[in-house]
Symmetry: C2
Amino acid sequence: MALTFNLVNSTPAGGRRARLFLPHQTVETPVFMPVGTQGTVKAVPQDALESLGAEIILGNTYHLYLRPGHEPIRRMGGLHRFISWPRALLTDSGGFQVFSLSQLRKVTEDGVQFRSHLDGSLHSFTPEHSIHVQIALGADICMSFDECTEYPASRSRAEESLRLTMAWAHRSLAHFRAHRQDVPWFDPKVCRTQCCFGIVQGGMYADLRRQCAERLIELDFDGYAIGGLSVGEPRELTLEMISEVLPLLPKDKPRYVMGVGYPDEIEQYARLGVDMMDCVLPTRAARHALLFTSEGRLNIKNKQFAEDQNPPDPACTCPVCRRYSRAYLRHLVQAGEPLAATLNSIHNLAFYLGIMQRVRASLASAPTPISIDP
Amino acid sequence: MALTFNLVNSTPAGGRRARLFLPHQTVETPVFMPVGTQGTVKAVPQDALESLGAEIILGNTYHLYLRPGHEPIRRMGGLHRFISWPRALLTDSGGFQVFSLSQLRKVTEDGVQFRSHLDGSLHSFTPEHSIHVQIALGADICMSFDECTEYPASRSRAEESLRLTMAWAHRSLAHFRAHRQDVPWFDPKVCRTQCCFGIVQGGMYADLRRQCAERLIELDFDGYAIGGLSVGEPRELTLEMISEVLPLLPKDKPRYVMGVGYPDEIEQYARLGVDMMDCVLPTRAARHALLFTSEGRLNIKNKQFAEDQNPPDPACTCPVCRRYSRAYLRHLVQAGEPLAATLNSIHNLAFYLGIMQRVRASLASAPTPISIDP
């Protein structure tokens, strides 16, 4: 079953209002996907995510592979069932976490050897193994195993990384096509299964990015991601790489920029035609008392909020802003109370999801380029 | 306004099904009160407490006095408004936390000098000051300032503690009666304000306990608590002290045993005529991965639950048991995820509140002792 992706409207700037039909959820795009690293969006219960309107969340393959393990999750019916999340899920390939978290990483043609950040045990990920693990987890969307280029990287380093990523894309897709029916919730009657996205790498070299995109498209993935961004480069460079790649990608497939970004970034990229984004920023910032609001960023720990009875964001209608004051959130942070992380995270996610909701409304109503019938 | 406490039914064993009319909530008793030490029941959002049916929760005067301070809370309209909890609240006197948490405690006739466990700063609580702080916090029920006897304690130590507690009870009540109209939400039209409970001390000496109860009753508090229990004594002694005191207390006023207990204890005491209880156990145990269930206690961290897809308690209908498996809760604990504390706490509180709900139903339907009309 190929992925169904229906364009509702598009704008001259390239922005697209669309609908992504996944086995567990129809996702309205552009969409922001909260990150549920270890099978939980940190400090936020699943019902709160549902109330906020989250339609798809991420799980991290590296983390879930190490703990509790993909085989237990497969035996329990897959990640949806294990974490009790009936809507859509996406798993990354593990490549980025191996790159950023593991110790003694050793990259070969075959794959990556690494030591677990938890206990130092030795593991290896190949493209086949990453896909094998992702099929066991059974997200709606899995990702091709890629090699993430660090920033800054020399051209030869970026070329080598691109070469590996392409070789691994072929192997990922071959393994995926041979085994996609092994997903725990596979339904043979309707051929209901996962889909697989390719990842464009190429460092900060526009021609390498274009080359990678063109070659991946030949492989005919279900969707295309742009990876290896938000790794420390200046924001103009992020934008440049996205702008180089987007026009090359097929219009009838979803486009996903991984690991971005700040509130204004996700809005900007969505208006340029990015359909999917994910980032730990809203939840990580929340755990450090940083709130995103319509009035800018608030460090809710600041003394100025000690007796501020306004809601965190007066323009926000999330459950936190409807019920609690800045003074209370500040108190929870000051007192080291776990509720601080929960309430701050719920607000920040509401803020991110609210941005995308407004962008979707604006893209849906934007006039389409006039076409003159002959 | 005197406290209204309506008996619905009582049993030969002394158990009472009653209704406590407080300014912010009518509380069905016997009731278990979750503890919200620093203005939050640890890791549990207020709306989850409401869904569980919690009608009254505790705040700790010692903690809230130190942080954020009672004056800021008064200025913000009192604790109900500060923490956004519209139902009933009870504050303790601070006596127990000064006794158990603070450093360099020095007890004099006047009150207690102590150093904050947060920053070592010097503070003093007198009966007048404790009530002053509690009026500023503005819970529905405040508690007389008492001196908690450690366990074990010699008879002379217990006598001295009883003497102080009685002297302080007089002073607490005098201050309360003179200033009860200063509560932040005072309504002069209906004389809507707080009520104040006395605390029976006397260590583990039954005659001292009885003496304390009798003398407190003369002061005509709105309700009576039995304090200084669950301080390390064997459980038979706890029961003995409760059983000695209960028959002496006025039938038309609520009776509160402070700081108890295990699930079977709260049921036992409720059936003997205790109307109110509080304990950190359900939430503290939850944060240490201990679940109370109809099948006994589960250490959800245990490996045996790694692939157990049953709900934490198959007989429980709480939101956690309806949605999540033991395997998932175990994973959250193993992975150090904050959601573990939230979900475990919600379940344990549901278990405690469920016990009281069943006890109330059973007390309501118990045949009353037959009275033969002349």
